[in-house]
């Protein structure tokens, strides 16, 4: 092996090690205005990325409009290409984030919220999105569309109280097996 090749290999390896260390240590909390709740492994995180249908991103199975609300959505984070599962929006009533993300399907957005989870082996912790905007816009939108969308989907939901007490599918399941399930 000649000396020139040895030097090239050593230089390339050093750069790779340095890059890896930088990505692993990436901190997205700078400038974040997210509300905190003391959740497991919670980190404030504001970043940019592209809204994607997760299954499409992984497998190439890509229906129109990111599945039209039927698929789990995520964000491919721009700085490190990590696929982030967006599990939660900013509401406090057991609401996911798909209704808040869907208008941005395959578009570049900025988001602000919380990364969650304790597993050190996970590069892309799950995310609670609290604010979202198209990249390049100045005004943030609060991620709280779910309840309005539920009302549109369930115009004939009977009774009073929060959605989760009136949701026809949940009510049907509890009627069938009780609050503790079929134990």
């Amino acid at each position: 092996m000649n000396m020139k090749l040895i030097v090239v290999l050593l230089t390339a390896a050093s750069s790779l090690a340095l890059t890896t260390a930088i990505v692993a240590a990436e901190d997205f909390s700078k400038d974040s205005k997210a509300n905190t709740f003391g959740l497991s492994g919670e980190q404030k995180a504001m970043f940019s990325g592209k809204v994607v249908d997760i299954l499409c991103e992984l497998s190439g199975d890509c229906p129109v409009n990111c599945g039209d609300g039927n698929r789990n959505l995520g964000i491919v984070r721009a700085p490190d290409n990590a696929l982030v599962v967006v599990s939660k929006n900013a509401q406090f009533e057991f609401n996911g984030a798909v209704d808040d993300l869907l208008p941005y399907c395959n578009k570049s957005v900025d988001v602000d919220g919380l990364l969650i989870g304790e597993d050190p082996g996970v590069k892309a912790k799950v995310y609670m999105v609290q604010f979202i905007r198209l990249s390049g816009e100045t005004d943030w939108n609060k991620a709280e569309l779910w309840t309005k969308a539920w009302k549109k989907r369930n115009t004939d939901a009977a009774g009073e109280g929060p959605w989760y007490r009136r949701d026809p599918r949940v009510a049907k399941q509890i009627e069938k097996e009780g609050y503790l399930g079929n134990v």
């Binding site: 092996m1 090749l5 040895i6 290999l9 050593l10 390339a12 390896a13 050093s14 790779l16 090690a17 890896t20 709740f37 959740l39 497991s40 919670e42 997760i54 299954l55 991103e57 992984l58 497998s59 599945g67 609300g69 039927n70 698929r71 789990n72 990590a82 696929l83 599962v85 599990s87 939660k88 009533e93 057991f94 609401n95 996911g96 984030a97 798909v98 209704d99 969650i116 989870g117 597993d119 082996g121 996970v122 590069k123 892309a124 799950v126 609670m128 779910w146 989760y164 007490r165 949701d167 599918r169 949940v170 049907k172 399941q173 509890i174 609050y179 503790l180 399930g181 079929n182 134990v183």
Partner: protein, 157 residues
Amino acid sequence: MKRLLLAMAGFAAGLLVSGGLSGQIAIAAGAKTVEVKGEIIDTWCYLSGVMGGTDAVVGSAHHTCALWCAAGGIPVGVRADDGTVYMVLKIKGEDPLALSDTILELQSDSIVANGQHYVRDGVNYLVVANVVSNDGITNRNHEDFGVVPGFAIPEKK
């Protein structure tokens, strides 16, 4: 000196190869067919600790909340017997948020499922092709934890 440099170059080459492979895994490893034995869970409460420890936010204790979260569009998962959590992206051909009853009927159940397993950035994903067996809710942890959260069962008027 030459021997030392050669050893360092060998290490460097190894690092480059392993770094290259990790890079491929981060982008998307191909799917593997797997069979997973475990419990259907609500991933948000399980990973966030918002309702308590991981033993409390599964099983019968957390069943009603798990129904709420699944109906609310929060990703459903499988906690395998070895502790691995899989995010479920499709179940028996249905998209998980398709407003069908399938995902709610399986919530908190102990199942064996087969399908396609993907890994990216340390997160495990599962496209469930078949639920091979279903023992229903076998984790009767309400006997230890009561109902989680406490308001899940409404007070009688």
